[in-house]
Every structure is written in structure tokens, then in C-alpha cells.
Amino acid sequence: MTAQRLVMAGCIALALYLALVPLVFLVHQSFHATTTAGGTGAVTLDNYRAFADPHAWRLFANSIVFAAGSALFAFVVGTTLAWINERSNAPFKRTLFALSIVPLVIPGVLFVVAWILLASPKIGLVNLVLQRMLGTDVAFVDVYTMGGMIFVDGLHQSPIAFLLMSAAFRAMDPALEESALTSGARLPRVAWQITMKLAWPAACAAVLLLFVRAIESFEVPAMLGTPAGLEVFTSAIYKAMHQYPGRTGLASAYAIALLLLAAIALLLQFRVSRRTFAHVTVTGRGYRQRPIDLGRWRHAAGALAIAYALVIVGLPLLVLAWASFQRFYSVPSMQALATASLEPYRTVLAFPALGQAVVNSLVLAASCATIVIVLAAVLAWIAVRSRLPGRAALDTLVSLPMVVPGIVLGLAIMLVYLQIPLGLYGTLGILLVAYVTRFLPYGMRYATASLVQVHRELEESAMLSGASWARTFRRIVLPLVAPGLLAGWIYVAIVSLRELSTSILLYSPGSEVLAIVVWELWENGQYTALSALGVMYIAALLGLTLLAHRFSSAISAPTAR
């Protein structure tokens, strides 16, 4: 019992500390006049007056439409693929798993530029090809619209849903689906009424994560929204932070509006996941993982997956690969083919401090993902299983930093470690703290979503048979939620590799990371070199993913034996 208390108390303390740093900072700043450099002046409500401006509300409305659209689109795409991949006997499944997470790996800025080259009304390849085929000059697709923003952002984020839903589908006893099928229900009905209902906690978590992340995102709105006159809320935060004298207080007041929105969503989701028994799919009864036979739809599903891979992943990848052999970005043509070169790859490999950055990034990604997942597993157990008072508040509180915009989080963490002499400032350690703060909420959602699928009876029997809490946790709980935790680990590791907005303020000479190199190439307009880096990124990560997938298949689906 003491071990349990100790571990739980330690994890709660750590998580609360991490979460409270940015939250206290935000609240404090938002009620103070900002002097320069995040210093605070008199107590004031002035920062909140910004909400009297109808323009702020228009931006807020744009943000909500964009985030909701992007979340739903990403959810549908990711879930469909996850279902085909985990629950059906469609062909090419292993390839599909790897391809599905490629969009996550491509640096955001590059993904957007690739889609400008594909779907701009002026130079978009898709438009050019269709126009030539049909002999018209109508622009068929336009990426500079709300729809375009939702499409591009949704695609880029669909792996969040894919990973979460895959884990949920995998930890599912097929018996229920099979009984429905044998009772004569049609496949779509089974998928919707049985499979989806069982995966409801994961689905809620996925939509929530996607929504909150889109609300906080900046790349797609900045690059596609600005030319169309579509500004979002984060651009107001960005502006307030980048003024001189800086207006951290105003940015914080804006961020608090986002926090409130997220808090409501989180509490709703918490209520869903508390209704544990409704979604339990892993119980004491043994079952064998068996995919559903799609019959004649098998090839249709395979075709859908291939179409996705070709259009959604293949096209931007092709643009990327094409650009990586060019000296400057251009629409593919015979003329441009003649000037192909390996120069971009040479530029990347000769980049100052590249080796150091790769090592730092890998170390950070692996340690951040591991810390996050371990913490999240314990915290999720507390939130879902324990009777600890205030567990809903705990769950919400540690999840809130998810909506703190990266540029604000960076400043908060910087200020704290300038004042607390732990020796973290200027080291790789401060980046680790920032990453864990930023990505713990994501880990939490992955862990909670898988835990609510596991029946309490399994733990209870272990405890009854005399196992300690620590042993039960290690031998029963962890293996049962392993697919979800692994998916979470992959996600956190990949996004850690990509994290820029916080890293850029916190890194120091010697603690450069890969994302800084990406930013650097982007800032200097070396897009072709950046594309080359992107191609190398993807190759490396595809390799890693395939390995991880093989590994996760090897530890197999969780069956209660």
C-alpha cells in the first residue's frame, strides 16, 4: 500500500508542478500590465478589455470553425484507416500502418507548401492537370479557403486519430461484432453500432485532442488563411507576443479564453470515460484477435487504403521528393528536370551542428516519450480507477497545458528556470521539461482511452490472489494497455522531434535540436534543402515505425491469459 501511495503521490506532485508552471504564469500575467520582457506592472483588468472588440470574437469564431472542421475530418480519415487496418482482412495492412503516420512526420511548413504546389488555383498541379484534360481554365480546387485549411490541417493530423483508434480496435474482443454479423446485421451497421460504440472513449479522446491541437495551431492558418483574409485566434496571440514592448498580458488573456474552452471539453470527456462498464472490451474471458471478413468488400477496402496512400500521402511526398532534387521550388516540368541536382542533400549534410542536433533530438524524443507515458499510465489509473477525491480536477489540470500556445509556454518555462536556480537553464534539461509539460496531456488521452476498455475484474483477481498494487500494475495493467501506450509513445516521440515553437526560445548553443535546423532552413528559404531533410526524416521514421510495428505485433494483442 505504501508503494502505491508513494508512486501515486510522486506522479501527482510532478504532474501538478509541470502543469501549474504555465497555468499560474498565464493567470498572473493576464491580470497584470506588462512591462518589458514579461515583467509585470500593476494589477489590471485591461488585458481582458480586448474581448470587447468584435474583431477578437470574429477570430475566435474562425478558430472554432477551423478546429472543429479539421478535427472531424482528421477523425473520419484516421478512424476509417484504423478500422481497415485493425479490424478487417483487407490486403496491404502493414504498409498501410506505416503510410498512415507519414503525414505526422513531414514538417508542417513543408506539408503546407506541398499542398500549395498541388492545389493553388494559380499553380496547383491538380488544377493544371484537370484543366489540360478538360480544356478549361476553371480552378477546381482552392487551398486558400476555410475548406482548404481544414483539408490540409486535417490530413496532417489524421495520424492522431489513426494511432488512438488503432489501439482501441486492437484491444477489442471480436465476439460482439461476430454475434452481430451472424445475427444478420450488415457490416456498416456493425461498424457503427458495435465497433464505434465500444471505441467511444477513444473516439472522444481523439476528437478532443484533434480539436484542441487545431485551436492552438498556427502553421496552416498563417500560410493558407492569411492570403484569404482568414485570421484565427492564435494569430492575435502571436502578434501580441512579438510586439515591442511585448504584450504578454494580452497574449495570456487570449490564451485563457482557449483554456476555458479546453477545460469544458476535458470535463465532458472525463465524464464519458468514467462510465467505465459501458465500454469495457477486455475482460477476464479469453479471446482471440480475429479480423472481420469483409467478403467482397475486402478489395474495395484495400483499394480505398491504396487510394489514400497514393493521393494523400503519395502526392505531397512526390512534391517533396521532387523539390529535394531542385535548386529552388518549382512546378514539375521537363525543363526543371534537366536542372535536377543533389545539392540540397549536400547542403543539409554540411549544416553546422547537424550531428549534434540529431543526437539531441533523438535523446529528447525518447526520454520525453518514456517519461510522458510512464507518468500518464499512473495518472490515468488514478483518474479512471481510484476513488481519490479531486481526480477529475487532476485529470483536467494536467491536460490543460495542451492549449497553452507554444510561444507562451516557452516564455513561462524560461522565466521560471531563470528564477529557480536548478541549473536547468541553458541545458538540454529545460527542453525536456518543456516537452514533457507540452505532451503529457496527449499521453494522458492515450492512456485513459485504453484503460477504460480494461475491466476492473482483472486487477481485482490479481489483488485477491495476493499480488501487491505495484505488481498488479506492472504485470496486469501495463501489459493490457500496452497497445495504447505504445501508440502514445510513438506519437509523443514524433511530435517531440517536430516541436519548434517552445524549443526555439529555450535551446542554447550546444543544445540545438532538429526542429531548429528545420526552422533555420525554412527561414533562409532553403526549401529544397528542407525537402531533402524531410525525405531523410521520412525514410528514417518509416524504418523505425515498421520496426516498432513488428515489435508491437510480437508482443501481440492483449489477451487475458
Binding site: 518589458t36 494559380k122 500560410m223 492569411t226 483574409g229 512579438h242 529552388f328 549544416f351
Partner: protein, 347 residues
């Protein structure tokens, strides 16, 4: 009681030491005797390294620091970020009593802000006489080492040379419908151009007219804008940095540039931190960047140097300089005008 005494005594000693160091630096920074350089070199060699916060592209900075290290054997440690982040980090560290940075190397407005906040210290260097007047703010809290020149860039496949407008009014011609682009935050450029077009009101009205007739594709980031001109997405962009345009042109991109008068130039440069840990090395780097040798390195990287001799050919163009101090004072007003003109023309 005893501990309190000891603490007070320690505080006194630390205070005296700090004053002594500060005094030492001030005298060095403003010392103009004949052995100035020699004293700097000797001191810098003892210190061994210099920490630079910069927003210059890594490769450009590397060219400069490589030359510096070769000449003086003093190691340069570089931290790179956008100019706003450079300002934010230097200021936040200084406010919280952390003195990591020796030299700040970035755009003029951010350097001016750091000088106002007393993060940078005034420097008097015998090399200043070699620079153009606009590179030297009267308080000497920083010095302009290079100019960012705003030019108009066009895609040579989509825009013919002979159809280029002669002046800003020409952009209101309907032939430019759907073909114009601009960067999202060129407030200082706007504040410099507008008053020259028959006064503030008339100037803003002209740009509103252009946007009403032809639209304006607003993009975030100067490099993105330049690249999109090369790719044909933006046929004519109004605010591209000349060195980016030159680089793309040299790589063979279908892009060329021209100046709609008045061309606008903004100084960027270097300043020495008030509480530099390596004060000699910091001053030495400052001197090196504005020396003829440092300025030639910048010239090779397609910058416009502020050194009279090195940049002579480029200084002949009729540029109007951004009045950095005025822009910093009226920033909110100009930002509002800019947004209302380009980002939200309907409002």
C-alpha cells in the same frame, strides 16, 4: 545576527566588484586611444570565447565567425532565432539577472529596443567614421553593419519587363488584378513609404485603392514570399529583401527585381551587452563586423554593407532609410493602418 552581518558585507563586496567591472567596461567601450585594438585582442584572448545572439542566417553568421576566429583565435558561440526572439531572450535574461550574451547581432528595431532597455551599452569606436551616417544612432547603443533593402520582385515568366509599373500609382492599373503580393508585417516599410506619397492620408488612400482594384495576396515571411514569386504563385511581390531576390536569381530562378521609388532600406547590425561576461571579446567582435574585413565578408554574402568604401557602389541607389526610432514610437498606429489596408481591407 552574525550571518546578517556577513551577508551585508558580502553584498557590499559584490556591489563594489560589479561597479568596478561596469566601470572597466565603460571605459573600454568608449576608450579610443591608439592601443585600443591591442588591448581588446589581449583581453579577448584571455577570455577565449564570445557568445553571440543573432537573427542572421546560420551560413552568413558562420562566414563571419569563421573569419573572426581565424583572425583572433577567439571562439564564437552562436545562438540563432528570429529577431523578435533574440530581443525577447536577451531582455528576459537581463531582467532576471542572467548574463549569458556578449554580443547581439540582429535587425535595427530590435537593437534599438535593447539599447533603450539598457541591455546594450554605448560604444565609441574609431571605426565609426568609416560608416555611413544612417548606421550610427546618436546614442551609439548599437551600430548598423548591413542594410536590408526592400525591393519589388517579379516572376519573369509571368510579368514582362516592359509592363512593370514606373511608380506606386501604376500598381492601381487593372492589369495587376490578382497578381500582387506583400508580406504580412512590413510595418516599418509602410511607415517609410507612405509619407513620401503626398502625405500620410494620400499615401494610405493610394494603397487602399490598389488593394480595392487588384486585391493583395498577403503572405507571412519574406523568404516564403520570394520563393512564391519564383514558383509563380505570386507574380509580383512588393516587399522582398534584395539579398533573397539576388540569391534566387543567381540560382537560376525565373525571378528579377526592381525598385519603386523611394526604395526603403533598414539598418541591421550589432551591439555589445552592458553586462557582457567576455567584454573584450564582445568589443572585438563588434569592431570586426564593422571593419573592412568583416564588411567584405558581408558583401560576399549579398548584403549591403554600411562601410563607405566597401558598400560604395550599392550606396548610390536612392534609398530612404527607415527611421527606426520613430517607427518604434508609433508602431501601434502604423500596425493598425497596415492591417486595415492589407489584411482586412473590408473593415
Amino acid at each position: 545576527m552574525l550571518t546578517a552581518c556577513i551577508r551585508r558585507a558580502a553584498a557590499f563586496v559584490i556591489g563594489m566588484l560589479a561597479m568596478a567591472t561596469a566601470a572597466g567596461q565603460t571605459s573600454l567601450a568608449t576608450y579610443e586611444g591608439p592601443d585600443r585594438l591591442q588591448r581588446l585582442v589581449e583581453g579577448a584572448k584571455r577570455e577565449g570565447e564570445v557568445v553571440i545572439y543573432t537573427s542572421a542566417p546560420a551560413e552568413d553568421m558562420k562566414a563571419l565567425t569563421d573569419a573572426f576566429e581565424r583572425r583572433y583565435g577567439v571562439r564564437a558561440k552562436v545562438w540563432r532565432a528570429s529577431s523578435e526572439k533574440v530581443l525577447q531572450r536577451a531582455l528576459t535574461e537581463a531582467r532576471n539577472g542572467r548574463f549569458e550574451v556578449d554580443v547581439v547581432e540582429t535587425n535595427g528595431p530590435e537593437l534599438e529596443a535593447l539599447a533603450r532597455e539598457k541591455v546594450l551599452q554605448p560604444v565609441h569606436s574609431p571605426l565609426h567614421v568609416e560608416l555611413i551616417a544612417q548606421a550610427l544612432p546618436s546614442h551609439r547603443g548599437w551600430v548598423g553593419a548591413r542594410l536590408n533593402v526592400f525591393v519589388a520582385a517579379y516572376n519573369t515568366n509571368l510579368v514582362r519587363r516592359d509592363e512593370l509599373p514606373r511608380d506606386w500609382k501604376g500598381l492601381a492599373d487593372a492589369r495587376w488584378k490578382g497578381r500582387l503580393g506583400i508580406e504580412a508585417s512590413d510595418i516599418d516599410w509602410f511607415a517609410t513609404v507612405v509619407p513620401t506619397l503626398g502625405g500620410e492620408e494620400a499615401g494610405v488612400a493610394l494603397f487602399r485603392d490598389i488593394v480595392r482594384t487588384n486585391g493583395m495576396s498577403v503572405r507571412r515571411g519574406h523568404t516564403l514570399l520570394a520563393q512564391l514569386v519564383a514558383a509563380g504563385e505570386v507574380p509580383l511581390a512588393l516587399t522582398v529583401y534584395n539579398n533573397k531576390a539576388e540569391q534566387l536569381k543567381a540560382q537560376g530562378a525565373p525571378l528579377d527585381w526592381f525598385v519603386l521609388e523611394p526604395g526603403v532600406a533598414r539598418a541591421g547590425g550589432v551591439g555589445v551587452a552592458q553586462r557582457a561576461r567576455n567584454p573584450h571579446a564582445a568589443l572585438l567582435f563588434y569592431e570586426f563586423e564593422i571593419s573592412e574585413e568583416g564588411q567584405r565578408v558581408l558583401l560576399d554574402r549579398e548584403y549591403v554593407p554600411t562601410h563607405r568604401r566597401v558598400g560604395a557602389r550599392l550606396h548610390q541607389a536612392p534609398f530612404r532609410f527607415v527611421d527606426i526610432r520613430a517607427v518604434l514610437d508609433d508602431y501601434a498606429k502604423w500596425e493598425k493602418l497596415y492591417d486595415a489596408t492589407f489584411l482586412r481591407p473590408s473593415r
